[in-house]
Amino acid sequence: MGRAEEARLRRIKASLERRALILDSIRTFFKREGFLEVDTPVLLPQVAPEQFIDPFAVGSWFLSTSPEMHMKRLLAAGYGDMFQITRCFRRGERGRLHNPEFTMIEWYRAGADYAKIIEDTERLVLTAAGDLGLGHAIRYHGREIDLARPWPRTTVREAFLRSAGWDPVSQPDAERFDLDLVDRVMPAFPPDRPMVLMEYPAAGASMARLKPGDSAVAERAEVFIAGLELANVYSELTDAGELEQRFREVIRERGEGQRPLPESFLEAMASLPACGGIALGVDRLVMLLCDAASIDDVVAFPFDAA
């Protein structure tokens, strides 16, 4: 075991060195943009109700699944643009692209919508690649990918009609949605360019606001590069009443009738200004920029080796 670990750590050393440079790059990028770096707790009395995200319990508390609620409490108190690089924990998520403990960069821009945040993402990824001396053309899995802005965008409706032959906005089918997204829609994205999938069906809005003028879809986007789902973007929902309703719905669907709502968060939401926000998986960005096939190649001690 000892020798195998040593060999593994030696093999991924160059990637871990790059990882450190990428983190520097992210921090420099946001500081230059005038963002405040914040720190919110990882040990929480409650996590945000999410239908398919399971937290680790620590006594009667939980490890954070996302810094979203606390960053929004800061935003509600008048803190402006902010970012955070933090650890998130999600029980049961383990695979080539998943480790139950992972690193997230989350940022919020006051007064912005999700389109603006997508532009931030384009610039951030290009900056990180540039700081590594890579330029806008990178290689991943033997394929050249052109990161030049603007990245192609498509709506969920268009992408599903084109690749899966049905419209998830007019005929919602949650189960089929996830399978077809993975089996048909994602594989049909051009392999040599990033892809931004916009306007998720309202049922998958999570904490995004519905699109003004078209409440069948939410202003939520996902960013994909080379088959890696990199980030989840919202025009943030600022209606505390609607948010509470969505939370209650999720708790009902999870069959957790007795679960308390995150009251402090919901109270603060009354003062949340219009803003856009995003969660971007740092490990996956590092994978992309290190041409690493597995998350285990960019994390020193993955779950099973910790």
């Binding site: 398919f52 996830d178 997204l181 993975v182 996902e222």
Partner: protein, 189 residues
């Protein structure tokens, strides 16, 4: 025993429609905010056929405990062989079909490796090589051609094997149970 699909990993054994499968690979996919999808590659422990099944988070599957035990062959009883676990001394009646053609090399007192699914013996592995005594040399068989170099002999367990012509009744032979063929004559002490 029912377990969550998230607990399944390589080498987990699953019971599906009464057939035990060995999991060879679990591919975990989870689109953002979506259900976890588990693509489980597995192979039947009965006939080796492979298949892939897609599961979702929350699905439950039956895990089956497959264990190996050393067992000693005691005796034959109708359509069964009776073995005794050398550790627990428990006796197990094993259908002759489980052994198939290997039964012809089964000798009283032989210690074999029994593969168990829960309390049931689903496979018997004989030692790779066994030493058996020739009880009848120069058996004529309809199928085997007696050549200048080889002849058929009958062993103490009833099996017939082809051996070189120098083998005599009373000799002890080393037999490869995987192929059912003669390896060498064992020098008597």
């Amino acid at each position: 025993m029912a377990i969550e699909i998230s607990e399944v990993s390589r080498n987990t054994k699953l019971l599906i429609d009464g057939v035990p499968y060995a999991v060879e690979d679990v591919n975990f996919v989870k689109p953002g905010k979506g259900r976890a999808i588990y693509r489980v590659k597995m192979r039947s422990m009965f006939d080796g056929t492979g298949k892939e099944i897609t599961y979702h988070s929350g699905d439950r599957v039956d895990e089956v405990r497959i264990t190996a035990h050393d067992m000693q062959y005691l005796y034959e009883e109708g359509s069964h062989f009776v073995f005794m676990d050398t550790e627990s001394y428990e006796q197990h009646h094993v259908d002759k079909k489980v052994l198939g053609g290997k039964a012809q090399f089964l000798k009283d007192g032989m210690v074999v490796s029994a593969v168990m699914m829960g309390p049931r013996v689903i496979g018997i592995d004989l030692p790779k090589f066994v030493e058996l005594k020739v009880v009848e040399s120069g058996v004529s068989t309809r199928t085997d051609t007696v050549t200048a170099q080889m002849k058929a002999v009958k062993l103490e367990t009833g099996a017939t094997v082809n051996v070189p012509t120098f083998v005599k009744e009373g000799d002890t032979l080393k037999i490869d149970t995987r192929t059912g063929t003669y390896v060498e004559r064992v020098t008597r002490k």
